[in-house]
């Protein structure tokens, strides 16, 4: 994993967590602590926490198959105009497609679509940008919050 190159940057957190059910809550709280000095609006912070928890859960479950010996790596970067959270697992399968079928509640209620499958949809809707990439050794999901807009709004 390389550091982002664009503009002024500051690393706010860099840690790993074992792939154990429930550790998404630890990831969420550690990221919240890391960004506490940025003065994010409450709504933005809550959205970020949900996105981090869901992305970490996906990484632990689908990437690392909940193997506690295989960690999820989480980095938080303050870039010039955005906040970047990068979550890396060691999955070897193709990364989840950001363009996967959208969950449709009505279809789920009628049994025409799996009742699950809300995670990626929630993540996409909680952040300004979601990037997914991968190679044979790992998957990376990047969550981006535009800070310029937050400044303007505040």
């Amino acid at each position: 994993v390389t550091a982002p190159r664009s503009g002024a940057r500051r690393n706010l957190a860099d840690f790993t967590l074992p792939s154990v059910p429930g550790n998404e809550r630890r990831a969420m709280e550690e990221v919240a602590t890391a960004v506490s000095g940025l003065g994010l609006p409450e709504r933005t912070l809550e959205r970020l926490k949900t996105a981090v928890a869901e992305a970490t859960m996906n990484a632990m479950e689908h990437g690392n198959r909940y193997n506690p010996e295989v960690p999820v790596k989480i980095q938080v970067w303050r870039l010039e105009e955005c906040l970047l959270v990068r979550i890396v697992d060691r999955g070897g399968a193709p990364p989840p497609s950001p363009n996967a079928e959208l969950p449709d509640l009505e279809a789920k209620l009628e049994g025409a679509q799996s009742p699950r499958g809300w995670g990626l949809f929630l993540i996409k809707n909680m952040v300004d940008e979601m990037r997914v990439s991968g190679n044979p050794d790992h998957h990376t999901i990047e969550l981006v919050i535009n800070l310029k807009r937050e400044d303007d709004a505040g």
Binding site: G22, E29, L105, P115, W118, L122
Partner: protein, 119 residues
């Protein structure tokens, strides 16, 4: 951080049955206990079931799945499902997932019961 496992209990009110939820609605939530509580709420054949989220501090994508299951049960028996006590963040998630198109969301029990009683 230890998970606060979901607990559910039922009480009958004049406007409908209230399903009081406490803890976290996530992968740790005991689905059988939620199903049993919902079945108890249905036992007296109320027109409406109210989901009380005042004691819920965390809902994740698995929780959305579990709430969708309750909604499917309510629709199958042509029963109204109402919700109250959600934080602003979870009201937004109900909107994004379109749960709020099917589950009427109210700020508190009084307004939810009032709506349940007049319909």
């Amino acid at each position: 951080m230890p998970a606060k496992q979901l607990e559910a209990s039922v009480r009958q009110e004049p406007g409908g049955a209230v399903l009081d939820l406490r803890g976290e609605i996530n992968g740790f939530a005991p689905q059988e206990a939620l199903d049993a509580a919902y079945a108890e709420a249905e036992a007296k054949d109320p027109e409406a079931i109210l989901l009380n989220f005042e004691g819920v501090d965390y809902i994740d994508s698995t929780g959305i799945f579990l709430i969708t299951r309750l909604l499917a049960k309510a629709r199958a028996s042509k029963r109204r499902l109402l919700a109250y006590g959600l934080s602003d963040h979870y009201v937004e998630i109900f909107d994004i997932t379109r749960l709020s198109d099917f589950v009427s969301v109210f700020p508190d029990e009084e307004s939810a019961l009032s709506e349940a009683s007049v319909s």
